[in-house]
């Protein structure tokens, strides 16, 4: 028994570290490959020399294709940041009205929100596409953004958090003459830092990596987000350019990894009540 105990901890660390290596390895390989000359990608793990030519190639738009990758990064940022801000804003506003002001019938609204979260998105794909088309929103940003401006999931987790705030705090502010808007911005917003960080992180991740929807509603190369442009590029003309592909994949991965590392504290704190995000 004592000998078994002694071996146990090192064994745990060994298994965990091996798992961690497997988990990080694809990233490591992706980043290394993006700096390799094409001959070494499949044959060597460590590059014998580093090159920036893959990045130069992709940022110059490929040869003869003129795919604007720099522009696509800007597009991705536009269709990511606008919904993220909007989801936070309307999430707080709606949750405050339902949970703190308790408008008449708020329980029905909360049930609707839960149904919305669990509803299969596949049912909306075709009619939403047709709506965007009829409203002239194909091939521009609004078509890619509009359906994501309000997220029931964000309302739900704000409700979960707002439940925990004592009413006396808000009553005190009201007696001091604070308007409801002021209470949201001055009291609720600073108190819900963790929740807001989680909403921002998940929404940013989902919108930045979004693929199917912008693939459907936008065929204009100049408006494409990075994910779609890169996917079409990889499946199309640049099948045989692994180094360039990995440079693109690195560009697509980097922003969310950075954001995650900045927000990771909140991620772990909030996991217990973010319960419903697939």
């Amino acid at each position: 028994m004592p000998r078994g105990k002694k071996l146990k901890m090192p064994l745990i660390y060994l298994v965990l570290t091996t798992g961690l290596f497997l988990s990080i390895f694809p990233y490591l390989w992706m980043v290394l490959s993006s700096f390799k000359v094409s001959g070494e990608i499949f044959t060597r793990f460590w590059p014998s020399k580093l090159t920036l030519s893959n990045y130069a190639f992709i940022l110059q738009g490929g040869t003869g294709q003129e795919r604007n990758f720099v522009g696509s990064i800007v597009n991705s940022l536009i269709i990511t940041i606008i919904p993220t801000i909007s989801v936070v804003f309307f999430g707080m506003l709606t949750a405050y009205a339902l949970r703190r002001l308790k408008v008449r019938g708020y329980r029905y609204f909360e049930n609707i929100i839960i149904y919305q979260m669990l509803f299969p998105g596949v049912l909306f794909l075709i009619p939403l596409f047709l709506m965007m088309r009829d409203w002239g929103m194909i091939n521009n940003y609004s078509g890619m953004i509009l359906r994501y401006l309000i997220d029931p999931w964000a309302i739900f987790i704000y409700i979960q958090f707002f439940k925990t705030i004592p009413e006396s705090l808000l009553e005190a502010a009201r007696i001091d003459g604070a308007s409801e808007i002021k209470i949201i911005t001055r009291i609720m917003l600073p108190l819900s830092k963790t929740t807001t960080a989680i909403v921002i992180l998940f929404t940013f991740m989902a919108r930045w990596g979004e693929f199917l929807w912008p693939l459907i509603v936008n065929k204009n190369y100049d408006k494409m987000p990075l994910s779609v442009l890169l996917a079409l590029f990889t499946k199309g003309e640049y099948k045989t350019y692994p180094g360039v592909q990995m440079a693109g994949a690195t560009l697509l991965t980097l922003p969310i990894v950075v954001l995650f590392l900045v927000f990771r504290r909140y991620f772990e704190e909030g996991i217990s009540f973010t319960g419903l995000k697939g």
Binding site: G19, L20, M30, F90, M205, W208, F211, F260
Partner: protein, 299 residues
């Protein structure tokens, strides 16, 4: 009396402000949920090529077409195959991860959790591209396997292509699901284990009799997530296999996309979407019936 009146006035005012705050959400729900939902159902009863003004009612013909198509059952089979491999693998890896992390000091646990979560934040397009090259016929993984005399046609062999996709999706979700299991483990009262030790239960018995039943809620949640993931699979097969080889990785999402946006069969695609939602619901419902317990150790 006066107090009561003021109170009622305040309540009305609260309601007014509240509805004002809610109104964007109500408007959004009507326009972006209820309207498209109803329209989607209506389209599924029509024959329409998305462009022409002619939309003929064909009632249940689209549904009959969907149900009669042998491809539907192949796609359902593919998704079930994916689901079985994915749920088995991820449960082992993420529960294992949580059990191991639970045993190490907190100050190191954070480091490992962060590391494992990195794969979760990767976007579908990016990691599909990476694994497509890693698992290629002459890719790094096969070069490594060659040293022990093996070669696996990960995405080329129709019998294992779907399992390979399940493997890479498992790579993505291990850390994330592990975190849920860890939260579940942290909710288990440690005195239960102490009592079991006193009663002479060994580690395996404690795991089966205490850990597994008390993680029921986490299991249910993860299996529901995994089921929805299985039937909604799109980006990975689109990027890597395009539904091939021999339709082995074709999913309902791929088929809906193909039918509507390549073949312009809006009605058929909508009917397939409805069928796919019903199948997903049926599986989620079935799994919950099968494994969900809410009366654990109540007595």
């Amino acid at each position: 009396m006066r107090n009561n009146l003021v109170g009622r006035k305040r309540a009305t005012q609260k309601n007014l402000v509240g509805y004002l705050f809610c109104s964007p959400f109500i408007f959004f729900t009507l326009v972006m949920w209820i309207y498209p939902f109803l329209w989607g159902i209506i389209i599924s009863f029509k024959k329409w090529n998305l462009i022409s003004p002619r939309q003929t009612w064909v009632w249940f013909n689209n549904y009959l077409g969907v149900l009669k198509d042998p491809l539907l059952w192949l796609m359902v089979r593919n998704s079930i195959y994916f689901m079985v491999v994915f749920i088995t693998l991820t449960t082992i890896t993420s529960l294992g991860l949580a059990l191991l992390i639970k045993q190490i000091p907190k100050k190191y646990a954070g480091f490992y959790i962060t590391g494992f979560l990195l794969s979760y934040v990767s976007s579908g397009v990016a990691y599909s591209m990476v694994f497509n090259l890693l698992f290629a016929g002459d890719g790094l993984v096969n070069n490594f396997l060659k040293t022990v005399g093996l070669k696996v046609d990960w995405f080329i062999n129709p019998r294992i292509a779907m399992a390979s996709i399940a493997l890479i999706v498992c790579w993505k979700f291990t850390g994330y699901y592990g975190l849920f299991f860890l939260a579940g483990l942290n909710n288990i009262n440690p005195t239960l284990y102490e009592a079991a030790v006193i009663d002479g239960a060994n580690a395996w018995q404690r795991f089966i009799k205490i850990t597994v039943p008390l993680l029921n809620a986490t299991f249910v949640m993860i299996i529901v997530f995994a089921t929805i993931t299985s039937f909604n699979l799109f980006t990975e097969p689109y990027m890597i296999t395009n539904g091939g080889p021999m339709n082995a990785t074709r999913t309902m999402m791929l088929e809906i996309y193909h039918r509507v946006f390549a073949l312009l069969q809006a009605g058929y695609g909508s009917a397939l979407a409805v069928v796919s939602a019903i199948i997903t619901f049926a599986f989620v419902w079935g799994f919950r019936k099968l494994i969900e317990r809410d009366d654990l150790y109540d007595a």
